[in-house]
Amino acid sequence: MNKDLRRERDSASFNPELLTHLLDGGAERTRRRREIEALVLNNPDFQHEDLNFLSRSQRYEEAIRKSALMVVKLREYGIADPDEIYWFKSSIHRGRPEPLDLHLGMFLPTLLTQATLEQQDRFFMPAWNLEIIGTYAQTEMGHGTHLRGLETTATYDPATQEFILNSPTVTSIKWWPGGLGKTSNHAIVLAQLYTQGQCKGLHAFIVPIRQLGTHDPLPGITVGDIGPKFGYDEMDNGYLKMDNFRIPRDNMLMKYAKVEPDGTYVKPLSDKLTYGTMVFIRSHIVGDSARSLSRACTIAIRYSSVRHQSELKPGEPEPQILDYQTQQYKLFPLLATAYAFHFVGAYMKQTYHRITGDINQGDLSELPELHALTAGLKAFTSWTANAGIEECRMACGGHGYSRCSGLPDIYVTFTPSCTYEGENTVMMLQTARFLIKSYTQVSSGQLVSGMVSYLNDLSGQHIQPQQVAARPTTVHINDPASLVEAYKLRASRLVEAAAKNLQAELNRRKSQEDAWNRTSVDLVRASEAHCHYVVVKLFTTQLSEINDAAVHAVMNNLCLLYALYGISKHTGDFLQAGILTDAQVTQVYQRVKELLAAIRPNAVALVDAFDFHDNHLGSVLGRYDGNIYENMFEWAKKSPLNKTEVHESFHKHLKPMQSKL
């Protein structure tokens, strides 16, 4: 092991293994996770050449190969628990997407929730056995967020008892579904249903798209890959165009809505339940934000303790770049953020499971808040993690730009989560809608509960900034609980400001929609402040659950750093609301720098605790043993440009030119 890294590890003040248990949710779960990862690591069939050296087609093929094997092995090992499946899958695909994601994550679950029993008989088992591979085709080239705007049509023909599917315009071509381009032979297609001359809105249909046996597109189907993207090389995101393509009546998913043989339309009972799936997927993205940022921090912090550069003290050897204050200032707040998001992700998962229990018993009361909270937190964490990964890459100087660092890959794989499953700005505005609703409720004298209950404190006060401001000086910058209060005040002030601005626009006789649009910048700020408060609160709550004193001490520092750094980046909000004084803000800046120095000796141990295997990390710079330079050289020698000693372009272009000139 590199001697710098060894020294860092020897001097840690706590046992990282204990922290790993905390992150995994217990020692037993850590053990089981490692056991499952070992099943992948020890199986040579899951190993392959570095994906950075392969073309897109080759990467796709590698991914398909591993996915097919994965399904076989999952059943062979009897791995069925969702967490365990996730560990197995992310170990095999090393955190990257794979072509069966939509089949496993959308096609099968949709069959389970929206297909009738007869339909499940026909489709589920073949799909379970991968004889059918399906995708979920909703987004169109010209339409994403606004589902009512989708243009694909399914027109019922009672004469033949078939639906006729059409993509009437270029903008209506299905675009982006994963696994659609090359892999799937079926798709669940969302289309506007027309029967008896009337549009009945969006419904889901099972559409065969490729010939079983030859895998050729069926007549009337145009399907293909949408081309190269920013990352997602393994995924065949596809397009689908349908021209008078007929499917039998019972290929419409009819558990809720129905079309009778004569074309009579039967309405569904309620659609609130679809909230559940969205909540689940978005809460997963929060966890993913934490994991991706953790990987990036692991790489950047290990590298920063191995890399030496310039001189701090004249005459001394070049110091580790981790000793520079500017480097610590880049990386440690991100490290704290990664931990914060871990706890938020865990909280959301628990809440989801708890509420799902309630829902099954018919209690939907908590769903709107949870839905609003997950939307905002999905946006808040993915935006922050996205910027953080990039910051980590920049902090590695030139070598961060090489794909051997693994950071470009983490970045391009993660970034799309700012857009998919709900574009982030749209998500923030959904949370804002809930906040404004709660605020209005409070203003009319009703109390609200849950994470927004702080709004109750505003009630009956006719809320003037000065009054909120009257409370401030109680903030103690070394007390996490006091900082939670500060964030709470900031959130209530910004929610209030947005609500008032909205009202002011309405008073100018703007329509509801217009006024909303004119206030949306304020509304997004309010949502961000709310989410920030929730994260600080959850991190602080987590501290009380840590028993080991050494771990508690280091986590307390991280929690303080997270909260204080956030304040230092938004001092305007805290000053303007009178939550903090000028003098306190100066103290905050100072305290942040002290915390950087306090965290410095434990930085490597803190990333070790994330417990990423080198294989999963996929980074020469972030290797556990820190032997980076010799391994960069080994890696580079395998580059495609080095396959021959003299590149063919020498003979084709250089040599002829030299003789010509």
Binding site: I132, P208, H215, P228, E318, K593, E630
Partner: protein, 699 residues
């Protein structure tokens, strides 16, 4: 300090006015899907935007180009380049690293022929427009750095020997400075050159793996020669870093020279067309004449002679930064804005009012708030060019006369501007990418290419944090000068002025007065620098060593340097608006952009201005109100404002950003050409078919 510029730029191959811009898509033109600007059939949504422009787009274009003559020349050059299918970039996004490299070599050769044929010389006005038209798709950019380093550091004899060979491409050179383990800190480089009096030769060695040269562009596969930086040893004594010319590949069969291990460093985030390389030297002997000896020489008896000042080399570094900013970096932000804003005027999503059709996403305040401040930033940065040139020309004249007084200021100014501009352009391109929803992630939008290319600029030619600290060091010195009552360099002269300590605005309209916001920025810059300097002094007085105190203040010093640079940009934007007094319509819209740039900067950093009570909470609410009002005003001219950048469709190479706005058709047609749709994949036959077979009988 470096004898030459800090190093990654040459490595990545985008040095100098080699800011080779985009190239073309002639094949597409033939297929009819990629029409150039000015074609008739335009998406009505874009047409409507253009009809309501408040100013003449053509007039603004000529202002941006620095005169109608320049616009004419540029368009003529673009026409020549775009009409040659050999420069097409249609397939660029589909190509592998190997293919990209080969294309870049082919195009570099083709361009050389084309320029010769057109009678364009390398120092003629057409050159930079060729680069704009071609984009980054050319090899041999570092070859030019190789030549420049010989011109700067070589004796007349050395120049006479090597430059003609290099001019004719009889040799291809690279510039090998950065090592695997060493970048910013040049004294830490480990490659050695030991002089042997008995043979009159230098022996070059890579003593360990971290000393391997790493990153130089054109080195991995192309170069035959290299200028190598190594620590010079004579009779056991180290004389520091010097430059040596050596041959690394055979001129006959291109195989590596004996003792040379050379290759490509592997895939990167972008720059796949450049063969960034590694180089290991094992007892390579070169004659004494191969040390570049303009400023220092080793005599046959081993005597080391130093002559003249090599300060002139700082100038090279400064020129490099300046050219890279305006020819490479800033245009990428301009392109990203063009793509995202045109797309936002064509894309419709959700409804603003029930009953209306879906609204253009550009109507949404949140979309305006993402894109319009970037548009203002693009203009702000573009206008800095004139300011920096003026500064540079004045300094250059003085330096030529042997007066180096203005060098530190020029260096500090360009360092800070390089850092702030590359930071903002990189961040901006990503905002543009994400503002285009899902389609932004398609390589065919052109945005992933811009986004992955830009961040390299935050590292090469000086890592940004290091550069901000260099600016800060200069400012701290200036502040000391202020206190001693001596004259201060012009760019920092404001440090000596006194302000009232309170913002003088009473209404939101007051925040549209340049004096008001300029003063606010000046106050912030002065305050942050003052705080950092005081802290530094306190630490030193309390017994900390200078270096230790400096490290403890670096976070604050970086903030101070950023505030300084931001002030300079705002101030120059204000001055630019004033100079447009004879262009009423244009002055009006540019003034709006200036206001937006300034107010957005305050809105995004409210704490900096509220701290110490310079602004009150009420004033901050006025800033926000004015800022949001401006978004709605500029929105009306957003498309004309990007049209004025006058990028051809071939330049943009984007399905979303083309002039005619037919985004969906283009996206669909282009995607079908993807190799994933053109080539047979084994995935189905090998892995999927066996799975599907058993379904046949059941369905």
């Amino acid at each position: 300090m470096p004898m030459h510029s800090p190093a990654m730029l040459q490595c990545l191959g985008c040095k100098h006015y080699q800011g080779f811009q985009q190239s073309q898509m002639a094949q597409w033109n033939r297929s009819g899907y990629f029409r150039s600007s000015g074609s008739r059939d335009v998406n009505p949504d874009l047409e409507a935007e253009r009809q309501t422009a408040s100013f003449s787009v053509e007039r603004l274009t000529t202002i941006l180009d620095g005169g109608a003559d320049n616009t004419r020349t540029r368009r003529a050059v673009e026409a020549v380049i775009h009409s040659d299918p050999g420069f097409s970039r249609e397939n660029q996004y589909f190509q592998s690293q190997n293919e990209r490299y080969e294309e870049a070599v082919r195009k570099a050769v083709l361009l050389k022929e084309k320029m010769h044929q057109m009678g364009w010389t390398e120092d003629g006005p057409e050159t930079k427009y060729c680069y704009r038209a071609l984009g980054g798709d050319l090899a041999f950019n570092v070859h030019r750095v190789f030549k420049n380093s010989i011109l700067a550091l070589g004796t007349d004899e050395q120049i006479a020997k090597w430059i003609p060979l290099a001019d004719e491409y009889h040799i291809i050179g690279t510039y090998a400075q950065t090592e695997l383990g060493h970048g910013t800190f040049l004294r830490g480089l480990e490659t050695t050159a030991v002089f042997d009096i008995s043979t009159q030769e230098f022996t070059l060695n890579t003593p360990k793996i971290s000393a391997m040269k790493w990153w130089p562009g054109d080195m991995g596969r192309s170069a035959t020669h290299a200028v190598v930086f190594a620590q010079l040893y004579i009779k056991g004594k180290c004389y520091g870093l010097h430059a040596f010319i050596l041959q690394i590949r055979s001129l006959r069969d291109h195989s590596p020279a004996p003792g040379v291990i050379v290759g490509d460093i592997g895939p990167k985030m972008n720059f796949e067309h450049i063969d960034n390389g590694y180089l290991m030297l094992q007892n390579i002997n070169i004659p004494r004449e191969n040390m570049l000896s303009r400023f220092s020489q080793v005599l046959p008896d081993g005597t080391y002679v130093k002559r003249g000042s090599d300060q002139i080399n700082y100038l090279t570094m400064i020129v490099t930064r300046v050219q890279m900013l305006w020819n490479e970096v800033i245009p990428m932000l301009l392109k990203a804005c063009t793509i995202a804003i045109r797309y936002s005027a064509v894309r419709r999503q959700s409804k603003l009012n029930p009953g209306d059709p879906e609204a253009k996403i550009l109507e949404y305040q949140t979309q305006q708030q993402k894109l319009l401040p970037l548009l203002a930033t693009a203009y702000a940065f573009h206008f800095m060019n004139a300011y920096v040139n003026e500064f540079y020309n004045k300094g250059y004249t003085e330096i030529k006369q042997g007066n180096f007084d203005s060098l530190p200021e020029l260096h500090a100014l360009t360092s800070g501007l390089k850092a702030i501009i590359t930071d903002y352009c990189t961040g901006g391109a990503e905002v543009c990418l994400r503002a285009c929803g899902g389609h932004g992630y398609s390589a065919l939008s052109g945005l992933p290419f811009l986004y992955t290319k830009l961040p390299a600029s935050c590292t090469y030619e000086g890592e940004n944090t290091v550069l901000f600290l260099q600016t800060a060091r200069f400012l701290v010195k200036c502040l000391a000068t202020v206190h001693s009552g001596q004259p201060i360099p012009p760019s920092a002269a404001y440090l000596s002025s006194v302000d009232s300590g309170k913002c003088q605005a009473w209404t939101k309209m007051d925040f549209l007065k340049p004096d008001i916001y300029a003063e606010a920025y000046r106050h912030r810059a002065t305050r942050l620098l003052g705080n950092a300097a005081t802290k530094l002094q306190t630490l030193v007085q309390s017994g900390a060593e200078q270096y230790e105190a400096w490290n403890k203040c670096t976070v604050q010093l970086v903030q101070a340097a950023k505030a300084h640079c931001y002030y300079i940009v705002v101030k120059n934007f204000i001055d630019t608006v004033e100079k447009l007094r004879n262009e009423a319509e244009i002055q009006k819209i540019v003034k709006h952009l200036c206001d937006l740039f300034a107010l957005h900067g305050i809105f995004s950093n409210t704490g900096d201005f509220l701290h110490d009570g310079y602004m009150s909470g009420d004033q901050m609410d006025m800033v926000t109100a004015s800022y949001l009002d401006l978004l709605a005003v500029i929105r009306n001219d957003a498309v004309p404002l990007v049209d004025a950048f006058d990028f051809t469709d071939e330049n943009l190479n984007s399905a979303l950003g083309s002039y005619d706005g037919h985004v969906y058709q283009r996206l669909y047609e282009w995607a079908q050409k993807s190799p994933t749709n053109q080539q047979v994949s084994q995935a189905y036959a090998s892995y999927l078919k066996p799975l599907f077979q058993s379904a046949l009988s059941k369905l």
